[in-house]
């Protein structure tokens, strides 16, 4: 596995140049791909992230899948393409601003902001397979939206769905 990781990291260097430059030198890089595993991409800290092919023509499968799942499960509150609505925050920004584990925590357990000015409630999606089985998909899609690596609208080309991703999906959905 380590072999794949090194190999992919080197071939992706060119594609990484742009987001990497935006980072402060001492800040943790939560965007750049460090390695790939069966079609999933990760940062140095093993956090899921998106990948765009060198020619800019294709997104990874998870980013594409995240686009679909986001617009099924999240869009009715958080607006098209993670842009936010009149009452729910723009998740394309949350995915950048929030730590991955905090992001997951809010999706799984929900969150409430009830006070004089706000009536804002994020439901707990912990037992919703349509969300939980695609949590990383949605997360990496939103991260790609947050950096504008993926523009608004449907991603054009995409990498194929790997057998490993398909198997994990079926196992998660109990199919």
């Amino acid at each position: 596995m380590q072999l794949t990781r090194t190999f992919v990291a080197s071939t992706l260097l060119a594609a990484l140049a742009l987001p990497a430059m935006a980072q402060d030198a001492d800040e943790i890089d939560n965007i750049s791909v460090a390695y790939e595993e069966d079609g999933r991409y990760y940062t140095e800290d093993d956090i899921p992230t998106y990948n765009i092919t060198e020619d800019g023509q294709k997104v990874d499968w998870l980013t594409y899948s995240g686009f679909r799942r986001y617009h099924s499960e999240c869009h009715v509150c958080h607006g098209p393409e993670g842009m936010g609505s009149t009452y729910a925050p723009a998740l394309k920004d949350s995915a950048i601003d929030m730590d991955y584990y905090d992001f997951v925590d809010v999706v799984v357990n929900g969150r409430q902001k009830i006070n004089a000015a706000e009536n804002s409630v994020m439901p707990a999606f912990g037992d919703n397979p349509n969300v939980m089985c695609y949590l990383d998909d949605i997360y990496v899609y939103l991260k790609a939206r947050g950096t504008e690596a993926v523009p608004r609208g449907r991603p054009g080309g995409r990498e194929d769905k790997t057998d490993a991703i398909r198997e994990a999906e079926n196992a998660c959905l109990g199919l």
């Binding site: 099924s72 869009h75 009715v76 609505s85 409630v121 999606f125 397979p129 449907r154």
Partner: protein, 599 residues
Amino acid sequence: MKKLLALTSVAAMCATGALANDGLVAEMDKPEQWAIQTGDYKNQRYSELDQITADNVGSLQANWTFSTGVLRGHEGSPLVIGDIMYVHTPFPNIVYALDLNEDGKIIWKYEPKQDPNVIPVMCCDTVNRGVAYANGKIYLHQADTKIVALDAMTGEEVWSAVNGDPAKGETNTATVLPVKDKLIVGISGGEFGVQGHVTAYDLDSGEQLWRAYSVGPDDQILFNPETTTELGKPVGADSSINSWEGDQWMIGGGTTWGWYAADLEENLFYYGSGNPSTWNPAQRPGDNKWSMTIFARDIDTGEAKWVYQMTPHDEWDYDGVNEMILTEQEIDGEERKLLTHFDRNGLAYTMDRVSGELLVAEKYDPAVNWTTGVDMDPESENYGRPAVVAQYSTEQNGEDVNSTGICPAALGTKDQQPAAYSPKTELMYVPTNHVCMDYEPFRVSYTAGQPYVGATLSMYPAPDSHGGMGNFIAWDNTTGEIKWSLPEQFSVWSGALATAGDVVFYGTLEGYLKAVDANTGEELYKFKTPSGIIGNVMTYEHDGKQHIAVLSGIGGWAGIGLAAGLTNPNDGLGAVGGYAALSDYTALGGQLTVFSLPD
């Protein structure tokens, strides 16, 4: 002829009205009041007040304002009964009684305590389309489906009942219909796999009298296989469950969150049912009856007299819940009792509301492309069915395939925002959406209380048109023709008002209240209110003066889809951001603005 008919129908109304809820009928008949959200039982949203006319509306002025204290989408409108105005808000569903004799001083305020967990179970914002009045009580159907009857003078709770379970995704956004001795209420939750129903409660005690589901066995949907008809033919036994595969009907949707109309003479009430669950048509083979259906039911028993399914086996989320406008008009040389319905699917239907006969079914936006039209031949086996264009069929294109360029979008050529009808012009004034979509269905699994959608949608302004996302049209419901059409930059998401002064009013998402000439559509007046308008315009008279009032407060579906602006993914990168974002024009608010002519 027209006058004679009007007289006889008034007489008939009074005759049965005396047996029925004569109190409310009398209140609705006073033009100085606005006693029901829909203007009257016919949903005409027409007022006999004629002080404000096409000639003088240009000098209209904002007269007084009121902040509701809530910042979510404000749908519906205030009521005016006597000297009191009743104003409601979105969640937490506050109700204010304002004293019109004292510049809107607050007589009482009712604020229910609701579990905030209901908020995220409400698809598309926490809107509420207003309270109802009858027999000295104000009726509120809260987000959490609790129904409360409040003393109209004091705001004290007289009775309450619980209509559904938010833990299963059952919520409420609609107003209620007080008719005769009953309160008829619907339910929301089509995106959560709710089995939709309509329920009658005793107006005075809150006791549940009957419940009629939209989908299910005959004893649940209150159908009589022999006497309940569709297009003149009995529907037969098990008409609903025969049109589903397995037990899918149990989470089959068909919710009932729209507007209700009633005809006391026929003892019928009318409403439509929403989408079948899920949005992925491949997961629910069959016609999915009786989702997407117009219902005529007996007020006393709930039994269905006739039904008409507009969009069998929905593939686009074209809910059938929009208002049913009842009129008496001449059509093909014959005076008839009509029902006109502007469906989300882009077709406007004119029916005989006594027999359920289909008279007219025409597109009310030329952009509509998913169908070539409805089969109007009674001899045809497809009588009454829309012919689906294969290219735009998300069923035929299949799961995991993105069907592009479908018009209208899921929010419909019109959503719940109600149209108005003027008996003077015999035209209907219709707020519309001019938005198309890409739709990709895929498999989802059901979890109680969790969203059950199963499709990815992208929406964008109708291509090859004026670039805007809405139109405000005048429609002839007897011929099925657009008389005039006013392009709007955004969807028109506000309910219209027609008046005897030959002025028609509507609000826009930028926040304008607009007045147009009922005959020509010429714009006569506009005023920009503090926030976008998704509420319905109403009118009343106080101290001899006609007032126009509307709630501002952007939100709802419009606040989701349009807040950031829409993009057409097919236009390529260059066009991204090229369409107007509503957030450039308006911000959150919750305000009532009342207009009148200067002294």
